[in-house]
């Protein structure tokens, strides 16, 4: 399988394992969408702001002496976006409902991050 096919499959698996998830994206750390099942019209913006949130999260962690960032989360009334660094060059963004099973999302996200690192590495 190509890297693209592996990432597409990873997104499908994540959605199948956690049906609550409403969108998954792998983007470059400079905000370019690499693989995504977000609607096309949302994709470019989510990739860019997801990478931005990740970068900002890292700086906040550095300035506030929080240590290495494991997750950046934006929570709204209607849902949340979880963003994970996947190595130096990649970002994984997952959208889920505000009242979904966050524990399960995080558990699956952790494994997905490792897989993305391997695929992109």
């Amino acid at each position: 399988m190509t890297k693209q096919e592996q990432l597409d499959q990873l997104i499908k698996d994540l959605r199948m394992n956690v049906p609550d998830i409403t969108g998954v994206m792998v983007a470059s750390s400079d905000g370019l969408s690499i693989a995504s099942d977000f609607p096309e019209e949302e994709g470019a913006r989510i990739a860019a702001v997801g990478a931005a949130a990740s970068g900002l999260g890292n700086r906040i962690a550095q300035n506030a002496s929080l240590g290495e960032v494991s997750e950046t989360m934006v929570k709204g009334n209607d849902g949340l976006l979880l963003i994970y660094m996947t190595g130096e060059e990649g970002v994984l963004a997952i959208r889920a409902p505000a009242k979904g099973n966050l524990g399960l999302v995080r558990l699956e996200a952790s494994g997905a991050c490792e897989s993305v690192k391997k695929i992109l590495g």
């Binding site: 470019a44 990478a51 999260g57 700086r59």
Partner: protein
């Protein structure tokens, strides 16, 4: 400074960029050009201090020091050489301008004044052929220096944003790209 200076100057078409011929014209006429120094300094800062927005950049009593800075720049320019350290100095000015809140409209506006002043003096006081060479040299100098100052201002803003917020220039470009089409459409309507 060296890398950013080279990158900025590489953006300027070679027929517009300040050339060795331009440098020769300025340096061989430097004695005459130095006679215009007092008028240049006076006129420049009269314009700056007669406008509320540009005057607000300066602190009380700062004018003599800034006049000396411009005087030093003018003399260094006319004495040459136009080497890496000279152009890197202009790039550094862009960084200083961020700190001093001297925006690019102020820079391009006042550079227009400098070019007009020197060109007018050249046309008044030199034979036409040499005057036109001087006008061309002044405008090429203006192109290089303003390019370095305003691009350095912008690029160093990006660097500062990246350092502060973790948003590198490529990512900022991507964020801009997500909005620019809507902004263009709104601007047209």
């Amino acid at each position: 400074m060296n890398e950013i200076t080279t990158k900025i100057l590489d953006q300027i078409p070679s027929n517009v960029k300040f050339s060795e011929e331009d440098a020769d014209v300025l340096i061989r006429n430097k004695d005459k050009l130095l006679e215009w120094e007092d008028g240049l300094i006076q006129g420049f800062y009269d314009s700056v201090f007669n406008h509320d927005t540009t005057r607000a950049v300066f602190t009380e009593g700062e004018r003599p020091a800034r006049e000396q800075t411009l005087r030093d720049w003018y003399q260094r320019t006319l004495n040459g050489p136009f080497d890496d350290s000279y152009w890197e100095w202009q790039t550094y000015v862009g960084l200083v301008h961020i700190k001093r809140k001297v925006n690019n409209a102020m820079v391009t506006g006042m550079w227009g004044w400098i070019a007009t002043y020197l060109s007018s003096k050249a046309l008044e006081e030199f034979p036409q052929d040499e005057a036109l060479k001087l006008v061309k040299a002044v405008h090429a100098l203006q192109a290089n220096v303003t390019a370095l100052i305003v691009e350095s201002y912008l690029k160093n803003m990006f660097v500062a944003i990246d350092k502060a917020a973790g948003l590198n220039e490529a990512l900022l470009g991507r964020l801009v790209a997500t909005e620019i089409d809507d902004m263009l459409a709104n601007a047209k309507s």
